[in-house]
Amino acid sequence: MSDVTRAEVCVAACADLFAGAGETLASPMGLIPSLGARLARLTGEPDLLISDGEAFLLTPESTVEGWLPYRRVFDVVAHGRRHVVMGANQVDRFGNQNISAIGDHARPTRQLLGFRGAPGNTVNHRTSYWVPRHGPRVFVERVDVVSGVGYDHAAGPFHDVHRVVTNLAVLDFATPDHSMRLVSVHPGVSVDEVRRQTSFPLAADDVTETRLPTDGELELIRTRLDPDAKREREVR
């Protein structure tokens, strides 16, 4: 299939986050990660559990297969069979994430959501991040407030920050000191561009090109998962 868009590459990259997840709750925040999780379930990961974002677990046919009110989400967090893909106002070199506030926490220049579930997510189960606009104000040397816990903080036996998917690239922390590494750049993006849009030095050996969605995946994205192409508004 021709004319694959950047958004479609991002959806496939988000689907790949769940490779090997098995019978785990996928908790994607935001449209592109949601499409990715649902694409993964329709392809290589049929056992994924996915909620409606409120209180129900839904099958691919949108029938209710389970009840998951917020109180039970906290139980799943503590139990650990969950992979969350959160947003991030800031992410730093060691995978610390901020969705709480910009500036001094006592009197922020910009109040954001708050810690939400980021501290609990990151110390209990696998966590990835989705950044629709990769830039130096998001990829900072040090986050102002540590909401999601990074590799340079003691974080216990279950800490597992997996990957960061952005509109430009896929990144992970598979370096000796767990600093961020460039895994792949999306088709049409250069390594230099990602470096320019990142405020800290990025390990970039063996960088590949992010894979294109297969014809089968494109068909699912375009006709079944997102026929109105809302994905194109989140990533251009």
Binding site: P69, Y70, H105, R107, Q111, G120, T122, H159
Partner: protein
């Protein structure tokens, strides 16, 4: 059995300056807005509020009622940020205890169980503990020796919640998809007040939806539409237009007084 029916103003008459008030619901979902409005009309002030925050927090911030907020987040759900909450934070007008949202549950549960704390993993390594130096860790006495957050009990003087149905004795029922944490708020509090869409003599539907029993409630307020503009499904969804008007006015000092008068009226 006691008849606990009362008005929203009678509920607020039992709230004193400086009290710690827990507010049920979640974000912009099933908030006890009729009781919040009664608070806004009162002279009660200097409150510590514990909430999974939504426009309840924003409105109480706007009215200068909050001295300290204990929260995991403040959001209007379909609108990411509450402008009034942002303003009071950015001007340093309120104190905060900002927690992971699971820590809020653990703190309420500790209070509900009359325990001084409950261990939880959430918070470790994050800045929750940086900005809440009063929260300590505890080490497992068993072979694992794991260090955990000792989430202190969030003891409430007052709990305010809104459910779909209640009887005059304080048994109460949610009919939507999620009970949120309204039972925990009541169990963690000394004085417990539930507003409801309708006071009924007999409950319909599955008994599992009877979230509160009369041991957990001191006052019942019949308040049809009493969660609006937040959602109270299946009775009604969120009034998105009114919420947008709220958020727009909250971000514009010129428009706020007009909106506020109309909202309280």
């Amino acid at each position: 059995m006691r008849d606990k029916r009362m008005t929203a103003d009678e509920v607020v008459g039992r709230i004193e300056d400086g009290m710690t008030v827990g507010i049920g619901g979640w974000g912009s979902r099933r908030k006890p807005m009729a009781l919040v409005k009664a608070l806004l009309r009162s002279n009660v002030t200097d409150l510590t509020v514990v909430s999974y925050g939504g426009p309840d927090v924003g409105l109480l911030c706007a009215a200068g009622k909050i001295r300290k907020l204990v929260f995991g987040f403040v959001s209007l759900d379909t609108i990411a940020y509450d402008p009034w909450f942002q303003r009071v934070r950015e001007t340093g007008a309120i104190d905060v205890l900002e927690l992971d949202e699971g820590m809020v549950q653990a703190g309420l549960r500790a209070a509900a169980h009359r325990l001084p704390f409950l261990p939880i993993r959430a918070g470790l390594g994050s800045d929750v503990l940086t900005y809440a130096p009063g929260i300590r860790t505890v080490r497992s006495p068993y072979d694992d020796g794991e260090e955990l957050v000792a989430m202190p009990a969030l003891k409430l003087d007052v709990a305010l919640v809104h459910l779909n149905r209640a009887d005059r004795h304080g048994n109460a029922q949610y009919l939507g998809p999620d009970p949120y944490f309204d039972d925990l708020f009541c169990l963690a509090a000394q004085r417990r007040y539930v507003s409801c869409e309708q006071v009924v003599d007999r409950f319909e539907g599955a008994p599992q939806t009877l979230l509160l029993n009369r041991m957990m409630v001191d006052g019942v307020v019949e308040a049809p539409g009493g969660a609006g503009f937040t959602s109270c499904v299946p009775d009604y969804g969120r009034d998105e237009q009114l919420q947008r008007e709220y958020a727009t006015a909250a971000g514009d000092p010129e428009r706020w007084p007009g909106f506020y008068e109309r909202f309280l009226g």
